[in-house]
């Protein structure tokens, strides 16, 4: 049985949104018979992350939270992955990171040291929110335009497709949403934020084996 490790901290509004938007991915993984290791909220700690890597040896790692070119954070931004990580634990795995900037350097570094493939963002990851939906992030139609395409990276991998296919499906979904957003018939809310979806599209990167699959 293949397995998925998800880290989804929840300590501020951006992580709360990402926390909830992982649910459709987790649901699909369970439906497909995958074992899901769910590091939610306080469980998104370095200690638990490492213990799950050692004990469960997941095939696919999906990290959400805040990041930089050199670090990926968990609950309260505790560092889960950095250049100091024991990369032997990540050897042969596929990783998708929904955070800012980790694709600029860290992703390349991890691949160079044994990670099979990495998908992430070289620049900041943006998404807009409608204030009235703050308590119901999964129903926010504006956020959906940004986070559904990003979920596609993982759901495509769960379906057994390659890393390249996952990346391209996600990018194509962003392109379709972008084209709809810039039409004069779209809402002014969507038109205004198209710029930021374009930025996510341009900064999504793949490092390592594009043929890798779960």
């Amino acid at each position: 049985m293949s397995s998925l490790l998800v880290s989804r901290p929840k300590h501020d509004l951006p992580t709360e949104y990402l926390f909830h938007w992982c649910k459709p991915v987790i649901g699909m993984a369970i439906k497909r018979g995958m074992k899901v290791l769910d590091l939610k909220s306080g469980k998104a700690s370095w200690k638990i992350f490492v213990s799950y890597l050692k004990s469960a040896d997941p095939d696919l790692i999906f990290l959400n939270g805040h990041g930089s070119a050199h670090e990926i954070g968990g609950q309260n931004n505790e560092v889960l992955v950095s250049e100091k990580t024991d990369v032997k634990l990540l050897k042969g795995k596929i990783m998708y990171v929904r955070s800012c900037e980790s694709g600029a350097y860290l992703g390349k570094f991890l691949v160079k040291n044994g990670l099979k493939a990495f998908v992430g963002y070289a620049d900041s990851f943006y998404f807009p929110t409608l204030i009235e939906y703050k308590s119901r992030p999964l129903l926010d139609p504006l956020t959906r335009v940004f986070l559904e395409p990003s979920n596609l990276v993982v759901t495509t991998l769960i379906k057994g497709h390659s890393v390249l296919e996952a990346h391209l499906r996600s990018q194509n979904s962003m392109i379709q949403n972008f084209k709809r957003m810039v039409l004069s018939s779209s809402s002014s809310r969507e038109r205004v934020f198209a710029t930021y979806l374009w930025s996510n599209l341009q900064s999504q990167v793949v490092w390592g084996s594009k043929d890798a699959r779960v």
Partner: protein, 80 residues
């Protein structure tokens, strides 16, 4: 954050780009916010960051610049 070194070195250009980015950000509706890294920003907060020329402000300028460059180069609609 993208490399902003080139344009941030020219004070006159910085002021022009601030104005340009601010005009575009002013169109953000009041009932929305933008998540950027660890923060969530309203239109007014984004305008303040741009005016100050801090890290968040410069990121917003860079996003607008990239979009306008890609629009001008035809990269945005290359598959049309």
């Amino acid at each position: 954050m993208p490399d902003t070194a080139a344009w941030t070195q020219d004070p006159e250009l910085v002021e022009s780009l601030k104005l340009l980015a601010m005009e575009r950000v002013k169109t953000i509706p009041d009932d929305t916010e933008l998540s950027v890294g660890a923060g969530v920003y309203s239109k007014d907060q984004l305008l303040t960051h741009i005016r100050k020329g801090d890290g968040i402000g410069n990121q917003i300028i860079e996003v607008q610049l990239r979009f306008l460059r890609d629009m001008a180069s035809g990269a945005i609609f290359k598959d049309e």
